[in-house]
Symmetry: C2
Subunit: 194 residues, 2 copies
DNA sequence: AAAGGAGGTTAACCTAGATTAATGTCACTG
DNA sequence: CAGTGACATTAATCTAGGTTAACCTCCTTT
């Protein structure tokens, strides 16, 4: 397993001794998934928090009409799971599925609680990354409210160029909350405007 | 100052010794605001995380056209601040303004960092409440995407009956991302449907 | 009691984006 | 290289919700 990306990521926020890093790694599992496989399935309890080492995944749910809605994408150095399901250990609302072959580092619920005991600094680490995630999530709420689809698309493109290249457009449309047809119209408009 | 609501709230998540509670309270300030006063103003650095002891506040921002958009309301036992501004100590994007005379318990940035040193359990406390806030925020993103205005209004009413009574309708419309006229139309429809 | 001002409603008209369905493009597999 | 399946585009029509503006209630304040 390639633990370096995870350790490097954690070092951005807290300092761990070598011993602590060893304990940490002993309680994390690396897992490889193939394109199309599910890391979380709605209805199951989400057992892991997943740190993405390589690959690309989507988080989505299906509404009453069976429509798929993409909530987020995750690529290298992102976290993905159904956090609501994970923290309460109740059935998941979301699916997390691989769009490419992917490798993730998995923290199970029990191992993570254990780790909080063994390395209390990790409470701080997860608090800090959650703060950031929460702020980003709030920002997304606003931007959805007060922008047109075109503005949201432009912002998405500017903000996540790595993702736009790797993901088919109908999924980007789903992420933006518009139809693939309307996204197509927007793209056409933008070409004319140049 | 009435510290009981805050202590009771914290006790839901972690156990503090009497001594720890004393330290905590020594680093928190109670503050009373009048209706209309601002707890956070956009452009200023947000200095506090605020726990609401009594009253009602709104968090909003103004867009390019000067339109006000309400992001959340806060009542008793809720937290309010501009977290993005607070954690980075950079100018706030939001305003937090009192809709009623309100009392809040304020954690300043410095005191909170100090408290994390003195009572590491507080890292855990804030991690847990942030997890919950993040999950709620994500849920709101979804519900905004995949529901009509009518569904969102009904859900808001069911979920926050305490708030609907205390806040004028044009603010609820702003929170729901619709115009007050359209909300009025919806309310009319709902009366006919019964 | 008159005059504002804050909030709420109604109605006529307008627009962003959805829906449906046909057509196009490309990559693969047999 | 024909055929299939996955993805993208175009165009016609429809609808949720916005905009504008007039009007209606209550409270306050003088």
């Amino acid at each position: 397993m390639n633990a370096q990306p995870l350790l490097a990521y954690i070092r951005n926020y807290i300092d761990l001794t070598e011993e602590e890093e060893t304990i940490l790694l002993s309680r994390v599992n690396s897992r490889k998934y193939l394109k199309g496989q599910f890391v979380v399935q709605q209805g199951d309890v989400c057992r892991y928090e997943n740190f993405v080492v390589s690959g690309c995944l989507k988080t989505f749910y299906t509404d009453q009409e069976g429509q798929e809605h993409i909530v987020m994408f995750a690529v290298e150095n992102w976290w993905t799971s159904d956090l609501g399901s994970f923290i309460t250990q109740t059935p998941a609302y979301y699916n997390v599925q691989c769009l490419e072959n992917s490798e993730v580092m998995q923290f199970s619920y029990e191992n993570l609680e254990q780790l909080y005991q063994e390395i209390p600094k990790l409470e701080r680490f997860f608090r800090i990354i959650l703060q950031k995630a929460y702020v980003a999530s709030e920002k997304r709420i606003i931007q959805n409210f007060s922008s047109t689809a075109k503005e949201r698309y432009l912002r998405f493109r500017a903000q996540y160029p790595q993702i736009e290249q790797r993901v088919p457009q109908y999924m980007i449309a789903s992420y933006l909350g518009i139809t693939k047809e309307f996204l197509s119209k927007l793209r056409h408009q933008l070409i004319l405007e140049q």
